[in-house]
Subunit: 154 residues, 2 copies
Amino acid sequence: MDALMRKTLLLSSLALFFASAIATAAVKPETAIRYRQSVYTMIGWNFVPLVKMMKGEAPWDSATFARHAERIASLSPQLLEGFPEGSDKGAETEAKPEIWQSMDDFKSKMDALVTQSRLLADVAKAGDEAKTREQFKKTAGACKSCHDKYRSEE
Amino acid sequence: MDALMRKTLLLSSLALFFASAIATAAVKPETAIRYRQSVYTMIGWNFVPLVKMMKGEAPWDSATFARHAERIASLSPQLLEGFPEGSDKGAETEAKPEIWQSMDDFKSKMDALVTQSRLLADVAKAGDEAKTREQFKKTAGACKSCHDKYRSEE
């Protein structure tokens, strides 16, 4: 490695380091908490019509199901960034401190939600009601698995 | 039109009517208010890094810009359903009552945001900084145009 390449690499690393430092420093705990609660609220808003169809409280409508499922699949990967280090307090939150003590496990549960909700969106788009119902249960299971361990519900 | 076709059409219309009645009846004003505020919070969360790049407070990063712009483009069309009839009150809200008195104008401002934010996501993905900066201003203008008229900021 010559000197110029070494210097270029160093500058790139520094730029990346500061970019990430700036991004992290900018987020106050209460802002992150408000953000993640917003993502959950949006997921819940889109979940309600699916639950109604699952329970037969609303007529089954594949197109509506698929639209809401697609939104949930696209919202789920946006949750994790709402849990930066230090956002265990700063505003009212149901997120248990265990999240930051077991971040790898928490991330794997988030990954499971991302995977299951993407599968749900895809199967719902294909339009088979029985398969959609089955995949809905797996997705709801991914929600529950994380809530049981990491959400303090009052 | 024969009698059977007439009956089928009537039943379809009734089903649609009740489906929409169920969907509408289910949403409490405070739920809609919380939902729409969540969409705005998510848009804001994704807007901040763009503003920092625009102002030179963070280094320009096309990939990061495009990722956040794509999210804003996908969130914007989800705003309007957070303003159902009757949700002008029910919880603290900055939405002015004029929204429901001028729904057509409000919708056209929402459409402008959907259009401009989609253009921003597309131009950002293409990676030309100058064009992205120009389109960012148009998108921010679409936000401002609606806020000026319909948002009561304390």
